[in-house]
Symmetry: C2
Subunit: 494 residues, 2 copies
Amino acid sequence: MAVPDASLETIDTICNNAWKAFHEFRLLSLKQRAGFMRAIAAKLDKAPAALLQTAMEETHLSEARLRLEKTRTVFQLTSYADACERGNWLDVRIDTAKTDRSPATPDLRKTMTPLGPVVVFGASNFPFAYSTPGGDTACALAAGCPVIVKGHPAHAATSQMVADLILEAARETGMPEHVFAHVHGSSFEVGKALVTHPRVKAVGFTGSFAGGKQLWDWANARPEPIPVFAEMGSVNPVFLFPEKLKQSSKEIAGMYVESVTTSVGQFCTNPGLIIGVEGNELDNFIEMLGEGIAATPAAPMLHPGIAKAYAEKRQTALSQDSVTEVAESRNSTAQAEGIATIATAPGAAFLSNSVLHQEVFGPYSIVVRCRDLEEMMQIVTRLEGQLTASLMATENDVLQNPALVEAIKNIAGRFVMNGVPTGVTVALSMHHGGPFPATTDSRFSAVGADGIKRLARPVSFQNWPDSLLPDELKNKNILNIWRTVNDELSKESL
Amino acid sequence: MAVPDASLETIDTICNNAWKAFHEFRLLSLKQRAGFMRAIAAKLDKAPAALLQTAMEETHLSEARLRLEKTRTVFQLTSYADACERGNWLDVRIDTAKTDRSPATPDLRKTMTPLGPVVVFGASNFPFAYSTPGGDTACALAAGCPVIVKGHPAHAATSQMVADLILEAARETGMPEHVFAHVHGSSFEVGKALVTHPRVKAVGFTGSFAGGKQLWDWANARPEPIPVFAEMGSVNPVFLFPEKLKQSSKEIAGMYVESVTTSVGQFCTNPGLIIGVEGNELDNFIEMLGEGIAATPAAPMLHPGIAKAYAEKRQTALSQDSVTEVAESRNSTAQAEGIATIATAPGAAFLSNSVLHQEVFGPYSIVVRCRDLEEMMQIVTRLEGQLTASLMATENDVLQNPALVEAIKNIAGRFVMNGVPTGVTVALSMHHGGPFPATTDSRFSAVGADGIKRLARPVSFQNWPDSLLPDELKNKNILNIWRTVNDELSKESL
């Protein structure tokens, strides 16, 4: 669907309206916010078949994959709604007045308050889970922030259909007008106008490094800078330890053929870099990986922009000295731009050529052959921040290489043992984030209900009478939430 | 004490050494980190009298004030050490594998890992509590980060004496070499070299807006940007509600004479702006406040730079059209540059002249006379982000003005009811922070053990065998900490 960009006037009106809505929305109870989120989930769950059909046409993703993603999005909305209502994310701390101390200390009670209107940029690779009704939107609503979604132009019709569902849910649950808005835009101007609008107080983004860094730079150049939570590039290194590789090279190759190619490799957690120590086992592994890739048909990518970038970056990577192509998938049709590819290069080449460190977004992975584990250690210390790092290792491998394992544990946000980085579980225990350039703030997660904390800030109430405090801070624990009272966690009333 | 600036070579060596220390220090147990912090506290507590004497000479603060600040600093170190060891700040979340779900979910366990070496800039107004052994240092050590302190040049000798104590404590508790370092520097070059060094991963700063914003800009311009937690300016507005003012104008005036002048007004929480509705009660209040100020002797300020800035900003503020000086303190000696001052201006003048919104760091406060509560509301919505906002209000005042009270609750990090903003309690329930420009990140506190979270990031372990997990994530709850297991808080072992 080709839709015109929103005008700057429209954007100004939308942001000002979101600011008005903010003053009503943040006063609603956790239960009311959760009710709105559950209503969105219900509408998405029962959405007419036309929604999936439209998403399939716009993204070229399979029906099975999109159905799974829609289910995941419904789960995100309902599980974050549950977390919102459970209230533990408020991190309530209460310290009662201590008159016996010198100096005496006042009654102090801390909770969270929302930042303000949040702009969410839809991601091309997740039309549901990281777009209009996705994780950032769910976190913002849970935190008490109105949301303005800029739909991704590659799935503008899908985005508009979902936005209409959200607006319906807002009306039906009696939410303040303008608690949610949706704009179209494919130009830089639309993005810049949203991020630099004085009434916007935070930004959520999932996509390329270039895109995320640009939003972040705009946000930091504002008279009042605002946080941008951008989840950007990652090559998600996989480390093959010797004993494990010896035991299971076939099994690992099978796992990684699937991980590299699933959804045409269009995942931020796609394993783009596999690192092992040269030898027969690694050669066998590379051969099996190549066979699996060659047997995988090429497939259409999300949109022409991504296909073009993939073709270019793949070509650049393959044309580097000392990079050898191992195998590529059969390219059956002209639309099947997602040619899965395995390349290989020696460790020394990787160390001396930073082009090989760059993400090739799509079904591409390079296997780096290190001289020894010492060279692997050198590579680890040269890698940029990552969303994930995976270890294929036996317990012996880990125990015999403590320094290497510790170094790996310093570069990423999630450490996978004997598995693949693709497949991001929606749970409180998930950290989907990592040091720059994986994200703009390694201290927060884009997946899981802890993501709500990105969009709220703590506030303390000093010496307030009980009746005027927010419910979660009153003496009586009305909401039945866990609170830290005089340094001890408790559900008791005071 | 005039000391030469550290050379750029020295700084480079120190940062590289801190990076080496990081890899050992972060592996130490919470108990070991806490032991180091307690050893620093003990040494500071028993420091020879020369330390206080030196601090008095360098800062012109009274012995009583400095003694209190030293006690506060010891309390910070020991209470953050307790919090570090208690381990709740790790926010451990465990989700066990669910094979009955579609898709099945893996075992996932989340804890915190330190960011890396932290540079702490000493604050001129708190030679102990926000300098060398202060809150930022304590939080960094608790998080597992080595610390590099840049001593404030105005109390370089005090800073060096304390640094020596910390180094002694590090040796005696067997800490890794270079876990702590101290550099001198009064030039921009030293600050810039520290903030832009690739091995430095975070910055703590307490001071002026110009200083904090500069560090933040440098940090954001790095190839790998890093978080700067800068606690900067604030005018800490005080709102006088009508019924309360009628009942207690004398009491309020007395409170605020002390709050404006204590430690010569050199607190980031100093009440620089008092807002009321014009009328007899406000006139009486202003008169009484003026009398109290006039009866307060002027006093020497921290250092010539602050005295000069105070003189200039005070002069600028007083020379604005429609600003009237109400009273100033007796200036007995030439060294007593801290002339406490009360000025007043009509609400309309405040709304039209942004100079009146600016902080005058020192014992200065302006009383703004609004036409009515509607004008007060206009002022609230025009104020920038603040550390604190204080309400002098009866319960009736609050209940009758819900929109005004809610608007006030949107601009600051701490809301004081019928008290003064000065006096920042060290407790988990304290939020010492606020929207920009009060700080560079409203989501974190510079006071209280929650400040540890500024300097650590979450990491998830997926599918790791129990024996290889960090202690806090093992099935057996060895550390006896609160953990969220399958969405429920618990101290049970799995």
